[in-house]
Amino acid sequence: MPAAFEITADPIDPVALKSRLTADRAGACATFEGWVRDLNEGETVDALEYETHAAIAANEGEAVIAEAIERFPILRAEGVHRVGKLAIGECAVWVGVSAEHRGAAFDACRYIIDEIKHRLPIWKKEHYRKGATSWINCATQATRASPKPD
């Protein structure tokens, strides 16, 4: 049986993932998809590269899911984060929750993606149309000239 949270290098399949949430008691299903977008701080982005420490990220992701199940009256919760180089429009992260009622489904879904974003050891490098790259949220960048986009 697949783990409740996975790191993958493969394209995310929302239909297959959603099927893991089914439960006879569920009256609500809430899912979230994070997509790669083409603009950040005024610069055109061509691609995003995600890097992770997979074992620690998977463990921490499992912990987040377990917390959501503990804190919210939900039935099932799953999450997947993709790593590697992704093109504009591709799905980087998927979260899904089923519950008896929609309030808990929405709340738990939001909790899971918010925690994923600030706790998991996953890093994102933007590749700009103009050729530069930048690690998001980092003051540290490569020693080689990778100038901030102008």
Binding site: L120, W123, W135, T143
Partner: protein
């Protein structure tokens, strides 16, 4: 008294350091002290509070003490999702 640990670098830290890992002989007692030492040497520009550390495969606290032979993983500010 100095100990021998292996420091591992990820993402922006790896690019800045120019290596994925290196053997370090240090008198630093905690992960925080080791970060300050290494950040100074390699020019890591991120405040420690925004970074994370793992020791021997498990997320750790900055105040955790280091032991000879530890694998210390330095994580720059995260940006998943």
């Amino acid at each position: 008294m100095s100990i021998a640990v292996t420091a591992h670098y990820f993402a922006a830290f790896r690019e800045r350091a120019g290596c994925e890992q290196e053997a370090v002989s240090t008198s630093s007692a905690t992960a925080a002290e080791l970060y300050d030492e290494i950040a100074g040497r390699h020019g890591f520009a991120d405040a420690r509070e925004r970074c994370k550390v793992a020791i021997n495969g498990t997320l750790a606290g900055w105040d955790d003490t280091l032991e000879n032979g530890d694998e210390v993983l330095f994580f720059p500010p995260v940006a998943g999702g």
